[in-house]
């Protein structure tokens, strides 16, 4: 079957099977920053933004995304021009293996779009569904708060 959607600002039309989830199709199309994890919506590694809302792409059939806008980590920034949120994660050393980082960055982007001045409680709630097995959570929470300051400074 064929689904037409917007991915990182570009309109695409992808062929896929009815049973395929968005994670698989995104990765097959080269967007491998979306990680495979638990495949049950619990770990956050596959998070993308669907119409601006954070969702686990392992629970979204690719067909469900037809007609919607998807943002993956590739749409947030690049090695050459990282997004302030990505810089905040780097500077806070909130990354070790990096497997959970795309999901955390996208979750942070969704949070800051709704809540530009998050509290620590907001940051913790934002990362609640994102499991990290190496860095832990103290530095990612610091990174979320730092990202908010950077984004606000950038907006001024």
């Amino acid at each position: 079957m064929r689904s037409e959607l917007e991915v990182n600002g570009a309109r695409v039309a992808w062929e896929h099977e009815p049973h395929e989830f968005l994670t698989e199709v995104l990765r097959r199309e080269g967007l491998k920053g979306t990680k495979r994890g638990c495949e049950s919506g619990d770990c956050g590694a596959c998070a993308v933004l669907l119409d601006g809302e954070e969702v686990p792409s392992c629970l979204v059939l690719a067909a469900q995304a037809h007609g919607h806008a998807v943002e993956t980590i590739e749409g947030v920034g690049s090695f050459e021009a990282p997004h302030p949120i990505q810089e905040a994660f780097l500077d806070a050393t909130a990354i070790q293996c990096g497997y959970c980082t795309p999901g955390m960055v996208l979750a942070t982007k969704a949070l800051l779009a709704e809540t530009p001045n998050p509290t620590e409680a907001d940051a913790r709630a934002c990362l609640a569904g994102h499991l990290c097995r190496c860095t832990g959570y103290v530095k990612p929470i610091q990174a979320v708060l730092s990202a908010a300051q950077r984004c606000q400074a950038g907006a001024q």
């Binding site: 079957m1 099977e17 009815p18 049973h19 395929e20 989830f21 698989e24 495949e39 049950s40 919506g41 619990d42 956050g44 998070a47 669907l50 809302e53 954070e54 969702v55 686990p56 392992c58 629970l59 979204v60 059939l61 067909a63 469900q64 037809h66 979750a107 969704a110 709630a125 934002c126 609640a128 569904g129």
Partner: protein, 280 residues
Amino acid sequence: MYLALERYTRPSSVAEALAAYAGGKGGVLLGGGSTLNVEGNHEEVEHVIDLQGLPWKQLASGAQGVEVGALVSLRALGRAAAAWGPRFAAIAPAALAYPVVGLLNRATVGGRVMLDRNDVDLHPVLAALDARLLVVDDAGERALPFPTDAAGRRALAGCLLRGLQLPAGGGRSSFHRHARIQVDRPLCNAAAWVEGSEARVFAGVQGPDAALTRLGAVEGKLSGWGDQRPPDWRGQVREAALADLVAYEDPWASGTYRQDVTATLVVRCLAEVFGEAVSE
């Protein structure tokens, strides 16, 4: 991955959805999809009917009460319910009980209501608030009471859930749950609504099927007391709750543990409703 899915349908009208569903024989209904790849019994699903094209996302509160569309996300419900006043105070903590933003964005009210299980945190709340389910089938639309037993669940077979209605009124409600960790299904939960001498108190996860347990002895105590509850009301409610609850044991909790914790949750719900400290 795990699905045998061969067909995906996205109806754009209720008539199309009813035709595709064919009274439950046509395929599996899909709200957000938060349980599609998780529930083991969906591995053999061959056809899903995605309801996202239907206009069932309303969230309206007014003099008649509250109407919630079946496709409203749990996150949207939890956020909206926080402003609906003390009668509906139990809704937000139940809707947001599993605090993973991505899942809360995908899980729908309709999907949760139709789950044939008794460990869904919204269920005792909707029962305590006397919710009505707005269902559609080939015979038209009608309202059904929120199902608290197997017979009520059977009445939903073959229907599409358009939304639910929560009647207006006074009083206050409360919800409490207990789980091994926060991001887990509850080992037990309880919800209560009280207004003067009227009360509705329900508990979940008290047996192997989807039935909820109504705590009639606790409601009787509250009805007898009205606004004049005795100083030792906690002890009396606890005793009544223990009489109402069976010691249901499963691999995750012993019967007496679950019974004891559920009684504690009921006391906590009522303390919150009465405006008292939840823990003594």
